[in-house]
């Protein structure tokens, strides 16, 4: 499926997506077992925040790169094909 031409919003989402992969490799906490709020190991706290970051990235992707053309394509009246 040929998507519409890339725009700056889509490029930003892709850039952040790659950045998130890099941010996931948090080797700097590797040996650190100190606790945040007295109970949460810092390595786990970081990755919990990472999960929240994924949601924010999802929100950005929906706002800036939502494939609205796909919905229109799916709803076009064409005879359904069964294989």
């Amino acid at each position: 499926m040929d998507s519409p031409k890339p725009n700056s919003g889509r490029s930003l989402v892709w850039l952040l997506f790659v950045a998130m992969f890099l941010a996931h490799q948090d080797f700097w906490w590797w040996d650190d077992s100190s606790l945040v709020f007295g109970f949460l190991p810092i390595g786990l706290a970081y990755h919990a925040l990472f999960s929240i970051g994924c949601t924010l990235l999802g929100w950005l992707a929906i706002s800036k790169a939502w494939p609205s053309e796909l919905e229109a394509f799916a709803d076009e009246q064409e005879e359904a094909e069964s294989s």
Binding site: F17, D32, A48, G58, P67, S82, S83
Partner: protein
Amino acid sequence: MTTLIVIIGYLCLLLALGFFSNRLFRGTSKDYFVASHSIGPFLLLMSVFGTTMTAFALVGSTGKSFERGIGTYGLMASISGLVHAGIFFLIGIRLWAFGKKYGYITQIQFFRARFESDGLGYLLFPILVLLVVPYLLIGIIGAGKVIEPVTAGAFPELFTNPSAPPWLGGVPPWLTGLIVSIVVLSYVFMGGSRGAAYANTFQTIVFMIMGLVAFVFIIKGLGGLDQAGRVPARITEKGTIVQDFRYDKKESQLKANDPPKVVGKVKHSESSELTDHQPHFSRTPVTAEFKKKNPKTGELISFERELGIPFWTFVTYLFIPLSVGMFPHLFQHWLTAKSAKAFRLTVLAHPLCIMIVWVPCVLVGAWASGVLPPGIPPPAVLSAMLNLLVGDPVLTGLLTAGVLAAIMSSLDSQFLCLGTIFTNDIVLHRAGPKKYSDKQTITIARIFIVVIVSLTYALAMVAKDANVFDLAIWCFSGFSALFPVVFAALYWKRATKQGVIASILGASVTWVYFFYLSGYGGEYFVGPGIVPAAICFFVASVALVVVSLMTDPPSRETLKKFFPKLS
């Protein structure tokens, strides 16, 4: 006994939900297989999340954290939040659009049309079935391992041969597996895809709420959050691993061990600063030796365990969550969506839902290292913690029902999916769409579902001692090795039938090779800790690209159909 009554009550409630969803069933095969494309955002989120979170998420994550510590979260949960959401966005919505427009119900129908190949369907069918079956086994084995400890003592004269001596009289895994299989079969049989979506939503809400309740009670049992942080096993200056606390069940409180109880010793570590280190709270690999009792002879035997996560394992684990793009049961859930907009909530909330479920489980697993014997089977850690710290039989029953909910919310989709692909990709495909009436089509699917449930149950009894987490990883590795096929189908016009067949064969051969080297389902790494899924993925990708470029591209009609100009 009270605990058991609560669990039975929950299962009866599910059966009632099955009867209810049967009343909403519209009687057509389209409704049975994909709920007539009528599922809205909330039900889609709950059913997709409930399907991806199985025994693996609750029982497996707690057990893995008990073995390897908090790195388990980064290893599987946080990366899954990113990769899963990306796949829903990039793969799920596109497949939904093609499915809705061209009437596809299964992945194989899509691939047959996209790559103009009938044989591709016959190649993929057994591979998908063989990969879903271990996933099903995880659920049935996991359910058995959860129920036995929490019902220990209920029937001491009836069940005299427990998996471990303290669980004498508990409901044995074979009986739990049988009951869970029958309950899931009942509501899938009656309500099909719509029934599974409603049951998944109900069960996902139950296991998320119960997971949080369990977490609160475990914290309370450990004496509060601050105290819980001090509980995990600790390494002394002599290199021994000690438990500083024990839980006194009679007084229902945590007490200090004086002197600390030695449970193991460090054999090897790359870190020199280990004194007073809690290895379950960091990710530096530490090889330790522990002792456990042989359940039959009572004799103490030594075993080694690697705590922490090797660097290359952590990096290459990102290939495992790619499996979601090729799960046939998830494809079916995507197809139930009413519109593309229904995916928005799933993309947004899936990473948060993962966090809500996994952070407590991983913490409980790490805390358990300080109060449970190290030799306890990892899948039994969560229920052992509930049994030890919560105590109240009603609450334990409700919490266990929550674990069962997580397990069954995956089993239903997988059973339904196998019935769907057999009916559509084999029976109807060979006979032609007009040979069977809608009613007969549903009957064929139901018969196959009964057969697959029976076979899975028998297999689960054979593999009852398998490690739930490791078995899941093998299943996910197989699906992630097939990911290049779906990605190329959607985004690379030049991908050809021959390229895809080469990719599937490459993925299969490498997977089987590593599976054999692992001793058929154990934990296995290549070289410095690389997961086999990364190598299978690489081989499959290279085969796809090289063979596609060497063969003729797909026809213009096919390319026009699957790569239309969109504005």
